[in-house]
Amino acid sequence: MTTAAKKDASQERQKTMIAEHFEKLGHAKENKQKVVYTFVPGNLTELLANFDLLPVLPEINALQSGMRGKTGDYIHLAEKSGHSEDVCTYVKADIGMLKSGNIGPTGEKIPEPDLLLLSYTGCFTFLKWFELLREEYDCPVVMLHVPYQGDGNITPEMRQYVAGQIREVLIPELEKLSGKKFDEDRLREDLKRSAKAEDDLVWVLESAKHKPSPIDAYFGGVYYIGPIFTSFRGTQDAVEYYELLRGEIEERIKLGLGPVTPDGVMNEEKYRIVVEGPPNWTSFREFWKMFYDEGAVVVASSYTKVGGLYDRGFRHNPDEPIETLADYSMGCYTNLNLPDRVNLLENYVRDYDADGFLINSVKSCNSFSAGQLLILRELEKRTGRAGGFIESDLVDPRYFSAANIKNRLESYFQMIEAKKAKG
């Protein structure tokens, strides 16, 4: 169903950016650059850049280890040292990696943190994760408590609370760590660049409204959001990367091409799907192949909104540099309450004219998973389209049963066919 694979320029560009970042990390200690570990959702990349601090995102390490087939051993190691089999495997993959020498994806050692920035958006496990890392590293932890949108909105008090913590707790700590003064003008400039990249990112994600969709907004989507997530938001590099990507996709639309997959361009779009939940990383390619082999393209996904709901209008706003960081932290997908998650997915199904929606429920992640069966029911009720449910895990290979998932997907696609036939 695909034609030959060829790497796009944007992919090459991204690879270089990431390699350079790990290179910097590899030499951080000798270059006296301070390293801050922090989490993806609600990350404060622009603020860290303001103090020339280098971010490390342990979730990204875990997923990259998963893709390189390392996490089975890492998780085993963590469980052997007393971590329960029941808990989030990202944490265990990280602890196992630490115990195995902290070697990053490029083979270089990831430096120890000078600070753990516990920005606490959308998941309680983050809190425990850094409490656990604090036992291993002799460095301070600074907490940013991000309130949850329990009632479906961001109140002025929530905003004040988060902005207050950034001003009164975070900035002084980061100044102390880096020995540099906070530079508000620089932050404004960076935020301007963030907003520009965000415009292009949204354009890319929304290109999936075309038929055929020129992108896969889940499997492909994780590559598109990658650079913004991993430390580049606010940089000229990120702006240029998204310009390049946008140009490529404009071209694809002109030519009427489908998404690029690891096996080349997907030729025939048979099913348009909305996906909820994170992907599996240990068998990422195999998992993706189960979709493109069947002509299924993911036109929208919630996972690519963990780092922000830009497509619902949010942009970093240079006019309110601190408040905008607060709004960003509170606005990520994982910080939405369940009814809003359902509303968002429902809108995706309609806006992207999807044939159905599919939930990949991962064992690790209560933040995503608890309540997903109700999400499934609600979506079926509201949209009348085909709903599917599969189970796997992020980085624990023991919970990826290829045969089982393939079977389920096949029956799911048949269900779509049946619904389509009925009209």
């Binding site: 808990v87 329990g150 008090e157 707790v169 998650r341 109700l374 609600e378």
Partner: protein
């Protein structure tokens, strides 16, 4: 084989009556006691709260009855609850959903879901979808403990609950009312503290199940009624002729949310362990000492939560002291060892465990760990594990 956990021998007299009353309340999953309370006055409203902690004073001050919703224990047959949750999610939310969809939570006029974990958090959203006509609020406790930041945010959270409940009852929460409620709950705190003190001193006077039932009664009865009940119980057991057994003294950690079934507590005790300290029903004594009943009551409640609450896995350990506090508490209650018991699939409890274990190892304090669920029905393995633990301590002073 199921180890049947026989009931304690039936007690006569006033002590027997108190225990029967508490047992009835515990078993009352239709919340009849709450319906009876409401029937006496049509302005009365009941607000259900999930584990771990909410400031019940605020609900009380608005004329509401705070009711603890602690799951369905081993008494609820799960018919529909399982179809709402994957197998790898703890048991408590499925029994809570079961109670909700079967109409047994209809006595509640509203629900508060404190911020303790992602499961309870998402359950709040499920309630919003399933109970669109009820007041459902995710109650966000602060993880920043500065008065001007977390304190201010928290005071606002409390006020928003006060307003919502006041709208239902028609009783506005004034500062005076809130101070009175703090006083009422301070009396309750003292009663519970005296009960705990006695149990630490003479655990043979207070079997684990009775102690547990006394705490749970506080999640259903109006505060002053509960205070009177606990005080009377504490007095009565001192007059009983219960005799000490050759049991070891253990402390329990990890059971702060999903509750163990009563039969499990009985099993542990029968296996030779006096439970001298634990985190069951921890919200009833989350702030163990009296709260200031003068000055700004909102600030007093916030300060108490932020500075004087018990260390629990769901609250950020800002001062990096959970290990030290655990070890200190073991010494204070003169425990011989610790049972780390956590509900299966409970992220906060299970992620906390390695940290607690290393603190105990470093201090040379024996411990053992196991998982349970609220409907655990097989006790053989746990009984053997606890029995071996107790025997080892008795023989060698270490496990």
């Amino acid at each position: 084989m199921t180890i049947a956990a026989p009931a304690e021998p039936a007690l006569g007299g006033r002590l027997g009556a108190i225990i029967r009353r508490a047992t009835e309340l515990y078993e009352d999953l239709d919340f009849k006691s709450v319906l009876d309370w409401k029937a006496k006055d049509k302005t009365r409203r009941a607000i259900g709260f999930l584990p771990v902690y909410v400031p019940r004073e605020v609900i009380h001050a608005a004329g509401g009855l705070p009711v603890g919703i602690m799951g369905g224990g081993d008494m609820t047959e799960i018919v529909r609850g399982d179809s709402y949750f994957q197998s790898y999610i703890c048991h408590l939310p499925r029994s809570v959903i079961e109670l909700a969809v079967s109409g047994r939570l209809d006595a509640m006029d509203g629900f508060l879901f404190p911020s303790i974990c992602d499961v309870i958090r998402n359950l709040s959203g499920m309630f919003k979808l399933l109970k669109p006509d009820k007041y459902v609020h995710y109650f966000d406790l602060p993880q920043n403990f500065r008065a001007g930041l977390g304190g201010k945010f928290y005071a606002h959270e409390m006020r928003s609950v006060a307003q919502a409940v006041a709208k239902m009852t028609g009783s506005e929460v004034t500062d005076d009312r809130l101070r009175e409620s703090i006083t009422v709950y301070n009396a309750n705190r003292r009663a519970i503290a005296a009960l705990l003190e006695l149990r630490i001193e003479k655990p043979w006077l207070i079997p684990a199940t009775e102690y547990y039932l006394m705490l749970r009664a506080g999640y259903l009865l109006p505060a002053d009624e509960h205070t009177a009940l606990v005080n009377e119980y504490t007095l009565m057991v001192q007059q009983s002729n219960r005799r000490p057994l050759d049991n070891i003294r253990v402390m329990v950690r990890g059971a702060f949310c999903e509750q163990p079934p009563l039969a499990l507590l009985r099993t542990l005790e029968r296996a030779g362990c006096y439970l001298v300290d634990d985190d069951f029903v921890v919200g009833s004594r989350f702030i163990p000492d009296p709260i200031k009943a003068e000055g700004d009551p909102w600030e007093a409640l916030a300060e108490a939560f932020m500075q004087r609450s018990l260390p629990t896995a769901s609250v950020y350990d800002e001062k990096h002291q959970k290990g030290d506090l655990l070890v200190r508490r073991v010494k204070d209650v003169r425990a011989d060892g610790v049972l780390l018991m956590a509900p299966s699939f409970c992220d906060p409890a299970l992620l906390d465990q390695p940290m607690l274990q290393s603190a105990l190892e470093e201090a040379g304090i024996p411990f053992t760990s196991f998982k349970y669920s609220e409907d655990t029905g097989q006790f053989q393995v746990i009984r053997e594990q606890a029995g071996t633990f107790a025997d080892a301590i008795k023989l060698w002073g270490t496990a």
